[in-house]
Amino acid sequence: MSENQRIIEIEVLRYNPETDKEPSKQVFDVPFTDDMSVLQGVQYIKDYLDGSLSFRWSCRMAICGSCGMMINGEPSLSCETFLRDYYPARVRVEALAHFPIEKDLVINMEGFIEKLESIQPYIIPKEARTLAQGEYLQTPAQLASYEQFSSCINCMLCYAACPQFGLNSDFIGPAAMALLHRYNIDSRDAGKGERMELVNSEEGVFNCTAVGYCSEVCPKHVDPANAVNQNKTNSAADYFMRFLTPKGGAK
């Protein structure tokens, strides 16, 4: 065990809102083994070197979405990124880009949560069903059409990757759009009209300039860029069709 234990330098962006004017870097020497993730490296720092270091994590297996960080400038889940891949160079760990920092590696995700709420992320049925009528049935093909967009774990890596969200934090952004799309194309849902209002708005899809980095960093292959771009077409159709339809499209 000890023969294959090496020391890697981990550079961490520190920020304490109570004492610091701005974030600054701090370097730690961390002993590591081949099976250690960046998250475990950061946990080592907290346990043995500096207990004041703050970061989020929970599952350690790329499921909960809470351990997102910029690792050498790339939005990554720190629990599925390994120190061995950086050694012998130093690895740089920072809070997710484009979000306000609460402390050290912990970002303020309030804006993101508001966006998730704003898309009405639940099925809005065409007509209410009573319990006696049983469940809503769906064919495997109907499930397959939206399944990919439903595997988001809300890790926000795509927001840290999106230059347009970086320029305008009002932009509804990749993950929220993917989830919105997931409900809009669900055969059990009838809420598209209400959700299109957001897609069509100034905070909506047209902030996207088709960079595509969001889909590249997504650990769950949700492909949010695809959802955003499909909705540009939907929104453009809605924009022009409202002149032709009596109900006038979504507001």
Partner: protein, 122 residues
């Protein structure tokens, strides 16, 4: 607490951008090759393929007019949109001014093209 949402007018510009992008991707390289290389160098086509008389006849034909108009105008709308967004990307958020210069330029060129094509008659 729902924010009041304002409908974006982007679809107009996005649609013109998309149409121009599609057209330039499909026809742009071929047009550069034909007008810039093949004809002047006498490859494949005779050198006088684009003589004044022939081009005038092309521009006086209704289909030719449509083609020239679409190529000039949509290419410019595409370029205007691309430049506008690239300015934003590199940190120039001139907003209304940039919008006027980019889209205004495309609109002006579209009108001049339409006027000229009509002026040379049928």
């Amino acid at each position: 607490m729902k924010k009041t949402l304002k409908r974006s007018n982007a679809p107009i510009f996005w649609a013109l951008f998309g149409a121009g992008g599609m057209l330039s991707a499909l026809l742009g390289p071929m047009l550069v090759f034909i007008t810039g290389l093949a004809i002047p160098l006498g490859m494949l086509l005779p050198v006088d393929t684009m003589s004044y008389a022939k081009m005038l006849a092309f521009a006086q034909n209704i289909v030719g007019k449509g083609f020239i108009f679409a190529i000039i105008s949509l290419f410019l709308w595409h370029a205007a949109h691309r430049i506008f967004h690239s300015l934003h990307d590199i940190g120039i958020h001139a907003g209304i001014v940039a919008k006027l210069i980019c889209y205004g330029g495309a609109l002006a060129a579209t009108l001049v093209t339409a006027y000229t094509l009509l002026a040379i008659g049928f």
